[in-house]
């Protein structure tokens, strides 16, 4: 196992070391001290643990369109946009995440054991964002595909301007955003949530009791008659 200390190495050196790992390798990044851009752009299936709090874009631009990618664990809190544009693999945050967690992710899983701030899953394009705790306002804004699972409560404007992504909420919903609607939970939904719970270990979530939010598809075509929703 490689041990990479941010006290001794720059972010550039840490990432270069991580990129050079052969598939199947394991590495520990220690003393991250809130550094941004750690474990960015990794394509191969390696395991990386970041032992402490980290900054923006942790695990961003990782993985491949084939769904492969690194498995990254942050043993701490993270800043903005953890796992942004993730293509495959996973990013797990033991603490809470700041804004835009999993933004534009196209594959893979971003699992947050704490809470997530505003706009988690914004512009989501196929990945999974799972939040054990609460999610802030505008979660799932303009999410196009993929799944967002919220174990706790969801803030205002949930699912605003959703396309085809689906949101499951275990707790309360402060309000729905424009064109988002609560939909009937089907057997397929329960099965999907069971799978997510098994994958993330968020077993405080009861798959039979979550609420499903999807798009009403009323804003799919521009119309001046919808001006109140814009």
């Amino acid at each position: 196992m490689d041990l990479l200390s941010c006290d001794c190495l720059s972010v550039r050196e840490v990432n270069a070391a991580l990129r050079s790992l052969p598939p199947g390798s394991t590495a520990r990044v220690v003393q991250p001290r809130g550094r941004h851009n750690l474990a960015v752009g990794l394509a191969d299936p390696v395991s990386v643990t970041i032992e402490g709090n980290a900054g923006y874009f942790i695990g961003g631009l990782c993985g491949t369109s084939g769904g492969e990618g690194p498995d990254i664990v942050v043993d701490g809190f993270v800043g903005w946009s953890v796992g942004e544009n993730l293509m495959g693999g996973s990013v797990r945050v033991r603490g809470s995440a700041s804004q835009s967690a999993g933004s534009s992710a196209r594959g893979g899983t971003i699992a947050i054991e704490g809470d997530a701030s505003l706009r988690a899953g914004i512009s989501l394009k196929g990945g999974t964002v799972a939040i054990a705790g609460d999610a802030g306002a505008m979660t799932g804004f303009m999410a196009q595909a993929g799944t967002i699972l919220i174990g706790g409560d969801a803030g205002h404007g949930l699912g605003d301007s959703l396309y085809e992504a689906v949101i499951y909420v275990g707790g309360s919903i402060a309000s729905l955003g424009a064109d988002a609607r609560e939909e009937e939970l089907t057997d397929d939904d329960v099965l999907a949530v069971k799978g997510l719970v098994a994958r993330t270990g968020f077993d405080h979530i009861d798959p039979n009791r979550v609420r499903r939010v999807g798009s009403a598809r009323g804003l799919y075509h521009f119309s001046t008659h919808n001006h109140g929703d814009y």
Partner: protein, 448 residues
């Protein structure tokens, strides 16, 4: 016998409500819709046409046309030690999306750029394999929508351009109407086919200049610091925006004036947002000089560049290169009345008529019914564009305007087009003199 009502005056065209304004109001009242269209600003604006060159005479001697060499080589993006973009000419092809443009059009632009030794740029919707294969130097855009954005494509780009804004619609985001969202476009953008697709106006993962610095570092990490990072802004608060982009770490700043084109946006944006390219280039050049970065950070200017004269004037005012979009499409055949399909020539005037327009006036890129097969995803229409012939015509055009550029530079006594300077120019109008900050012709007066 008809009685004349003497209270009725002669027919007068109103300055406030001329016939076209009245027609527009009627159209909105009838349909409940506002105009959406393609291309750039159509109203009269201060332009490079309002400037002239003070070429050589007794006080300066010119270089020999068609004989003495005038350098056009242009290097972009070496600030942070990346492999720079090295161009044979200071004219690049601007970002235009697959989706807005047909795959054949993108391929033709890439081939033309390669033929003359310059770069082309992707656009909303990601990088197509055809485009990558055709383009020796390809700039990969990071747009707010992130449609089709793939780290693997990022790694095979020659430069990266973070798009904050676009001259045609700064602050406005983008749109691709449902008639152009066919199965391939929809799949690349992860959207249902046929919907009116919205491109976000701000990035999903960062906000503001401090975040931009971190975003640029992320992209450098993902590309192993090997490629230059451009930042593109729509020309509004140019001085501040250029300085902030440089402070955030941009290697190249791209400033797009309000004549810059689009494939679709609200007419109200095209005609009423942003400032013209003429003042934008001067403001941007001065912003770089203010912070002592005019040699380290390159300035690329776009928005309504049509000729070698425009290129020369932009360079004289401080640009290192220009970027063209609409002009490249026109060279490709946009607004032609006839298209060549195989060995035959097809008159497509009727198709313009169907779109309520005519050759030379069409800006209906948003409809997807492009009569010449450029801004369409319709298979039959796309066949009207021969990518081989299109590439040759765009390359011809690029060579011709490069010759115009060097003709003017030589006449100004310059052995390198980058030696053109504001002192080589005079303005024909008070407005142009104030915006370009060059003297009004015949005077030594620079207003402002």
């Amino acid at each position: 016998m008809t009685t004349i009502d003497r209270t009725v005056g002669p027919a007068v065209t109103s300055g406030t409500f001329p016939p076209d304004v009245i027609a527009r109001i009627h159209q909105m009242a009838d349909s409940g819709q506002y105009p959406i269209r393609g291309l750039g600003a159509r109203r009269r604006l201060p332009t490079f046409d309002d400037l002239v060159f003070l070429t050589a005479s007794a006080s300066r001697y010119p270089l020999e046309g068609y004989r003495e060499r005038c350098e056009t080589r242009t290097v972009l993006g070496a600030r942070h030690g990346a492999e720079p973009i090295e161009l044979e000419i200071p004219i690049t092809i601007a970002g235009m999306s697959f989706g807005a443009l047909s795959a054949s059009a993108k391929e033709a632009l890439g081939r033309a750029a390669t033929a003359v030794g310059t770069s082309t740029t992707t656009g909303d919707g990601g990088m197509t394999p055809e485009e990558r294969a055709a383009s020796e130097q390809l700039v990969y855009q990071v747009l707010p929508s992130r449609y089709g954005f793939d780290p693997a494509d990022l790694r095979q780009a020659d430069a990266v351009e973070i798009v904050i804004g676009q001259g045609a619609k700064p602050g406005g985001g983008g749109m691709l109407l449902g008639q152009k969202v066919n199965d391939r476009v929809a799949a690349m953008r992860t959207l249902p086919p046929g919907i009116d697709q919205r491109s976000a106006s701000r990035h999903p993962d960062w906000v503001g200049p401090d975040d931009l610095r971190i975003k640029i570092e992320e992209l450098r990490e993902a590309t192993e610091w090997k490629v230059p990072i451009y930042v593109k802004i729509g020309a509004t608060r140019v001085d501040h925006d250029v300085k902030l982009a440089v402070a955030a770490g941009a290697d190249v700043v791209v400033v797009d004036g309000m004549q810059g084109g689009t494939a679709a946006t609200q007419d109200v944006f095209i005609e009423h947002a942003g400032i013209p390219t003429l003042p934008a280039v001067r403001l941007a050049a001065e912003a770089l000089a203010d912070i002592g970065m005019e040699r380290e950070v390159q300035l690329v200017v776009s928005g309504g560049i049509r000729s070698g004269a425009d290129v020369a004037k932009a360079l004289a005012l401080g640009a290192d290169a220009v970027s063209i979009g609409v002009a490249a499409l026109v060279a490709l055949g946009c607004n032609r009345s006839h298209v060549k399909v195989g060995d035959s020539v097809l008159d497509v005037t009727e198709d313009y008529t169907t779109l309520h327009t005519r050759p030379g006036q069409c800006a209906n890129c948003h409809t997807g019914r492009c009569p010449v097969g450029i801004t369409t995803q319709d298979v039959d229409l796309e066949r009207r564009l021969d990518a081989d012939r299109g590439a040759e015509e765009v390359a011809n055009y690029l060579r011709a305007i490069t010759m115009e550029l060097t003709a003017l530079a030589r006449a100004c006594g310059k052995s390198d087009v980058h030696h053109l300077e504001p002192e080589d120019l005079a303005a024909l109008t008070v407005e142009a003199a104030a915006m370009a900050k060059v003297p009004l012709a015949g005077t030594d007066w620079i207003p402002g």
